[in-house]
């Protein structure tokens, strides 16, 4: 389908596709097997200016937004979503700075993120604070010109690899969710360390680690926005990045669909290619329709977010929810079409199925997405009813 991309967007998509096909796909299985962080590929993405697409021109970027980033994430995910999420997580870590950072903070951190020289990460989740963001326990206590951070963040994408961490920590316990604040912490700060690398079902090329603060002192000017804005910063960041998770899901699903179509044309059983069987044809048709619907939704929402519209939470949640469910279903079906081969590691679809699962979980489980959508619906109806 034609999504009427601008010349520049078309260029971004083509370059990302080329990197996916030429550089990522040939090593995807190996990265998955060895659970190795793809630094070389991050370097390629940096040299190709792809980390610059969502960064404004005044901070060394190319002036695009969420939609441009989604185009890149989708293409990379066709080949390996472990690589794609390592790329996207730098966006997740950088949006708090872009949205709420001061001029000085943006000028200091964004150019290196835009060039890919430094990766960013977002540190919110804790062992007891997953979907329930208000129960985070990491604290940031003001002490003279500094904040002192203590606590442990869990399952942080790009943990240990990133240089720049945006961290949500509690500055005032008495205020609950309104007592959280956001900070920038640079790798190398004394008191900042990393836990072991997690062993995961999918996206195994990406790094997922604990980020540990032990009397970690940071200068006061590393506070993002004002004290107490932590929760709102996290939510506004997710509004920007949830379409990206949707794009990741669309990419995974497209990759699985491509493999399934190709396999169905080549695999001969009962003296004919299995693509001639209606059972297979109908599966492929449903898969393709779902993928296209997910893409259409993700693109529309990404453009909506970029338009500067207010109250995009519902739409962003829908994009993430729908696309990730599609990715799960389509990858399961792709494995089914490839049969025994699909189940084997020699073929790429079992990895895609493993990779797809996380898109239903992270940046808010799909249950949380449904809550967001439903609450927004009810709120809207209540407003109209007045």
């Amino acid at each position: 389908m034609d999504y009427f991309l601008t010349e520049e967007q078309q260029m971004i998509k083509e370059l990302a596709a080329r990197i996916a096909d030429e550089r990522i796909r040939p090593v995807a299985a190996e990265l998955d097997e060895r659970e190795e962080f793809p630094w070389e590929l991050m370097k390629v993405l940096g040299e190709s200016d792809l980390f610059a697409v969502w960064v404004p021109e005044e901070y060394g970027g190319l002036g695009g937004g969420v939609f441009e980033q989604a185009l890149v994430v989708e293409e990379l995910s066709r080949a390996c979503s472990g690589v794609a999420v390592s790329y996207a997580a730098s966006g997740l870590g950088s949006f708090p700075i872009l949205l709420f950072g001061s001029e000085e903070q943006k000028a200091r951190y964004m150019p290196d993120i835009a060039s890919g020289k430094r990766l960013a990460a977002f540190a919110l989740t804790e062992a007891n604070a997953g979907s329930d963001v208000s129960s985070i326990a990491t604290t940031a206590i003001e002490d003279g010109d500094e904040y002192v951070l203590n606590g442990t963040k869990q399952w942080i994408t790009n943990g240990g690899e990133a240089d720049i961490y945006t961290v949500i920590a509690v500055t005032d316990k008495s205020k609950g969710a309104r007592g959280a604040s956001a900070f920038i912490v640079e790798k190398g700060t004394p008191g900042l360390s990393f836990g072991k690398k997690e062993k995961k079902l999918g996206i195994r090329a990406s790094s997922t680690r604990e980020v540990i603060f032990e009397d970690c002192r940071i200068p006061k000017e590393n506070l993002l926005g004002r004290e107490g804005m932590g929760f709102i910063i996290a939510m506004k960041t997710f509004d920007k990045t949830r379409p990206g998770i949707g794009a990741q899901a669309v990419g995974i699903a497209q990759g699985a669909l491509d493999e399934a179509v190709q396999y169905a044309r080549q695999r001969v059983q009962f003296d004919q290619p299995i693509s001639s069987f209606q059972g297979i044809q109908f599966m492929l048709a449903d898969m393709a329709t779902q993928v296209e619907a997910a893409r259409a939704l993700v693109y529309s929402v990404a453009r909506l977010v970029d338009s500067g519209a207010r109250d995009v939470s519902r739409a962003a949640a829908m994009a993430k929810l729908f696309a990730s469910d599609v990715a799960m279903q389509v990858t399961v079906d792709a494995v089914q079409i490839l049969g025994g081969y699909g189940y084997m590691r020699e073929y790429p679809v079992e990895k895609m199925m493993r990779d797809a699962k996380i898109t239903q979980i992270y940046e808010g489980t799909n249950q949380i997405q449904r809550s967001i959508i439903a609450l927004d619906l009810i709120k809207e109806a209540a407003r109209k009813g007045k």
Binding site: I12, L15, R18, E22, R23, E47, S48, A52, L62
Partner: protein, 258 residues
């Protein structure tokens, strides 16, 4: 320092398919790309520029559509591209091609180093680089796998030989042809692609180049393709079946006659 890279547009070798019935190469629908060997030449020139400054110009000879490979070169990081294009240039063999390229280098005037890929993936002759040097009376060295040093009068290179390598000091101006071991070509960046999109590629024809019409294109080509034919078709191989040790025994029985 002014470095020139000679690039050629070729049919994508990775898309080469053979017609099962005729045994011939299918050429329809095959994308035209930059000769893969030339990417190493472009990368090396760009790296030299990044280390030592100067400018890099990419030159290609071909039909107007070959402009694309020069745009791709600009996207990678070369400063400018020039296309040598004229109907008179058509049908050139390596002698006529190297003469035409040499005329362009002469016109540029200040070129210190010319880098070419080891060979073109479609012709595989590896003759244009040395031929270009001979035309210009530049020094040349083929199959370079590393540039160790470069100054205004000399470059020190490692040349791959059939049995190892040589370290050679080469007087400038010079032509070097490079092998894939020399580097890993970069992909274009978005900024480069945007620059390339806007870039004007000057088209130099026989008038601009001031060539001798008898030395370009078909007229200037001493070699002529007399005929082409299909190579003898391979007979179907013999299938050796059985357990691995049976297969091994069958094979060695057959190889014994060698």
């Amino acid at each position: 320092m002014h470095i020139v890279v000679c690039v050629k547009q070729v049919p994508d070798p990775s898309q080469a398919r053979i017609d099962r019935d005729t045994g011939l190469v299918i050429r329809e629908g095959v994308d035209k790309i930059t000769n893969p060997f030339d990417l190493y030449a472009l990368e090396e020139a760009i790296r030299l520029k990044e280390s030592f400054g100067g400018q890099v110009t990419a030159i290609s000879m071909g039909p107007p559509a070959a402009k694309e490979v020069l745009k791709d070169a600009i996207a990678m990081g070369v400063d400018s591209g020039i296309l040598l294009s004229d109907r008179q240039f058509a049908g050139a063999d390596t002698l006529a091609t190297s003469y035409t390229l040499a005329q362009a280098i002469r016109k540029l005037g200040d070129v210190a180093l010319i880098i070419c890929g080891k060979q073109a993936a479609d012709g595989d002759t590896a003759q244009v680089g040395p031929g270009l040097a001979a035309n210009l009376d530049f020094s040349h060295v083929t199959q370079v796998r590393k540039i160790r040093q470069l100054n205004s009068t000399e470059t020190v290179v490692e040349r791959l030989t059939d049995t190892g390598y040589e370290v050679l000091g080469l007087r400038l101006p010079a032509v070097i042809t490079v092998v894939k071991e020399i580097n890993e070509p970069r992909l274009p960046g978005l900024r480069g692609m945007m620059r390339a999109k806007k870039a004007e590629i000057p088209l130099w024809d026989s008038q601009v180049l001031d060539v001798d019409p008898k030395r370009v294109g078909l007229n200037g080509s001493p070699t002529q393709v007399w005929r082409t034919f299909e190579p003898a078709r391979h007979q179907k191989g013999e299938m050796l079946v059985g357990s691995p040790s049976e297969q091994a025994a069958l094979l060695l029985d057959r190889l014994r006659s060698l």
